[in-house]
Subunit: 349 residues, 3 copies
Amino acid sequence: MSDPSAPDAQASRRSFLKLGTMAAVALPAAVSSLAACGPPAPAAAKASTPPKPAVPPKTARELADEMDAHHEAGVKAFPAPTSGKGCQVLAPTIVGGVKVFELTCRELQWETKPGIKVHAWAYNDQVPGPQIRVRQGDRVRVVLHNQLAESTSIHFHGLEVPNDQDGVPFITQPPVKPGESYTYEFTVPNSGSHMYHSHHNAAIQVGNGLLGAFIVEPRNRSNEPKADVDYVMILNDGAHGFTLNGKEFPATEPIKAKLGQTVRIRFMNEGMLIHPMHLHGMHMTVIAKDGWPQPAPWKCDTLNVAPGERWDVLVKATNPGTWAFHCHILPHAESKRGMFGMVTVLVVT
Amino acid sequence: MSDPSAPDAQASRRSFLKLGTMAAVALPAAVSSLAACGPPAPAAAKASTPPKPAVPPKTARELADEMDAHHEAGVKAFPAPTSGKGCQVLAPTIVGGVKVFELTCRELQWETKPGIKVHAWAYNDQVPGPQIRVRQGDRVRVVLHNQLAESTSIHFHGLEVPNDQDGVPFITQPPVKPGESYTYEFTVPNSGSHMYHSHHNAAIQVGNGLLGAFIVEPRNRSNEPKADVDYVMILNDGAHGFTLNGKEFPATEPIKAKLGQTVRIRFMNEGMLIHPMHLHGMHMTVIAKDGWPQPAPWKCDTLNVAPGERWDVLVKATNPGTWAFHCHILPHAESKRGMFGMVTVLVVT
Amino acid sequence: MSDPSAPDAQASRRSFLKLGTMAAVALPAAVSSLAACGPPAPAAAKASTPPKPAVPPKTARELADEMDAHHEAGVKAFPAPTSGKGCQVLAPTIVGGVKVFELTCRELQWETKPGIKVHAWAYNDQVPGPQIRVRQGDRVRVVLHNQLAESTSIHFHGLEVPNDQDGVPFITQPPVKPGESYTYEFTVPNSGSHMYHSHHNAAIQVGNGLLGAFIVEPRNRSNEPKADVDYVMILNDGAHGFTLNGKEFPATEPIKAKLGQTVRIRFMNEGMLIHPMHLHGMHMTVIAKDGWPQPAPWKCDTLNVAPGERWDVLVKATNPGTWAFHCHILPHAESKRGMFGMVTVLVVT
């Protein structure tokens, strides 16, 4: 578990809090007794155990303070440092005018929150895999190196590539065997927020982390909305827990904007469940579905994102403060010990 | 269980049926043998039990009649009286031009259908909590009195309030401890169908009943659709069962309209699951999402409502009769013993 | 299990593959060792068992080949022949200007994929039941013959029929007892993609197969989109597995179009779960919800279909090839042994 009193976390917290307008909150003294709040030691069963001295039962206030201390510790730890960061933009190498991306998949341990490591299969040691950003009409080459113990493939989810680049073993290509490489190459046909992921033994392979964002800028940028911040948020559930970009709260990443700026969020769901994402304090204007512009953009504060879907929204940062931003299936976001899972914040300064 | 032959239920049923155009249905004689349809008594295990006299096995028709009698009893019991009614409009007191709402949360037993009481945490002893109705631009004060054994808070879900009124412990305020009170105050910023609920230990607290509707009329009413009936329907699941406004069928409330009237329904989901609500006999025109007008209203008869979402629809009451209105995840609405859970009717007379 | 080397399956595969543009794929020799890939025999526990001769452990490549052989066998078996075909268009008899449809419901065994038979309750021995296609304004009579061991009824889901034709026992009609018949008759009021299904003990009866498509052409066809292929796809889950039109991959049916043609797909969900249907290689334009035209058609490649919903989409067949088309909740579509469940393809030649 993260220790909020550790120097690193303290420094991180302080610098984070400076970003927001969060009111100063008096901390109950109980925070310092956090270590006392773990599960009780098992009662000794031996007959020779001397009788315990009488301890007065805890008051409701004491119990509430203990629970609240857990909640506070989670918030204070945010954004908690962990090893590994997914969804980083991958710079291509340019070979004869072709943008070349190398993706190596292999197994590793992935830290989803401080001290919690899960078994993962990753592209380039990232969960989600590195973010690919290209432009409509670009010639793109993706070279897959399979260092897993089983075969794999890549499907470019949402891209209308030629059939033999579609990545479905035995329908459009042979599987890529362990130790082998495979090259995809195509001219990027359509713009928008798309994904790439394994399409072989996919319930397991995608569930374990073989997924990433594939963002395509339109050839004609004149109809693109102006956005000061462009943020990809990949939702996931399953073996790695309830994650945003591969991390659980308090290790998720805050989204930051200045007052008056426009934030574009590209939601992508690579899990098995819906996640209705709820933003506090401001609304979202939905501008695209699966990379295709919505003909009549519409507003909401809770956007239901189903597996395989992508939704692009704009948020006008009009309301200063630190705003909770989470899945509204509450058991995906909070337990008796405080917020966890699919929770982050939008900070407007 | 509700006894449909009890005088109160009979009177209730008769008055209800007068509202609809339900055809007279011949009741099978088996209804009177309903009491015989309960679970069988456990077989006695003692050796001294005398052998039972031979009983001829039941025919398919007899078994069908028995099952149908359960189904009929549920329908006839509707709307079954229960103690407690949630979602009642709460009149504010006006203090210096401010609309003041007092909300006291405490534990109680809540009757979801006749004879079935669940443990609940409630605002003002109602599940859902009392309905707050104000107008955009109103100054509103909400005073929370916490009589629970743990801390709590209120989040105004969908309202773009100032950050320090957002109700998220340790991000925007300290938790409200047992026995303490806390005051929220803000000028209502945006209109539409919104909600309020706990944002502390929320998976438990909201699941147990700490939730309610917060409806805001727009400052400028000229674009509001004309509606003769304005009905809030809060969907829930979890510890209290599959409920509409805190009640399970047959204790749910019928919605009533006269032929030609327009009914506005404000769906709100405070549960953990989607609920695709299906109306028989007429369609719904979807006019708003999360309180924001849809730019291009659209029609449907089955509206998928995800946790945290609010959808406003209009129904033109053009088709006379008593129309089933239920979640179309059928195990949320019917069992072998008849309809239950998320079922009500729209009665057009 | 389907044997892909059986003559029938081979012939079927060959004729199917000719439709597509699937690249020739070299088959690993391991396919012939498919029978060796079953679960291992339990280890003998007896002390007298002689020691096994040393066998070198399998290499990663050998294990991958074995897994891939399962995946390949599923694809090669597609479309696998099974007994029974649901959703066949039912020709009415015309009696005095009335289109008369006879529906007999009874129990049977239904083959969902080669060798897998499930217990089903079916209309006219089909799962889904026969497809009814009529025109707005038609006078329609549906005669239900109940050969089940329990009562039933038919609800015309989405049709705005008079109340006494709505099919809800004890609200609009008595249940139809075992061995009895019941006649529905109405003038078809509204057009679009609708459904019919049991509304009595419906979680069980619909789950077991008592459901079908009820398609209504509009009286005025001038606003209908031109479609070269008109395909109904009924999604289901539960007791019969994850099915498309009553079949699991590889026994599902490919959708076929010529390059440049327009395919209209009418999605209908009769299950208990959402199914976000993802089409590879091309996008879908959503034109109607629950039979009602969308005022502003919108594009997507992954369409979330909730229970009770119907969505009509158009696909312009612009991209030649054999394209996977599946639910993107991956555990509904693929296991370690290959694709199964809610998977089919769109073949563009």
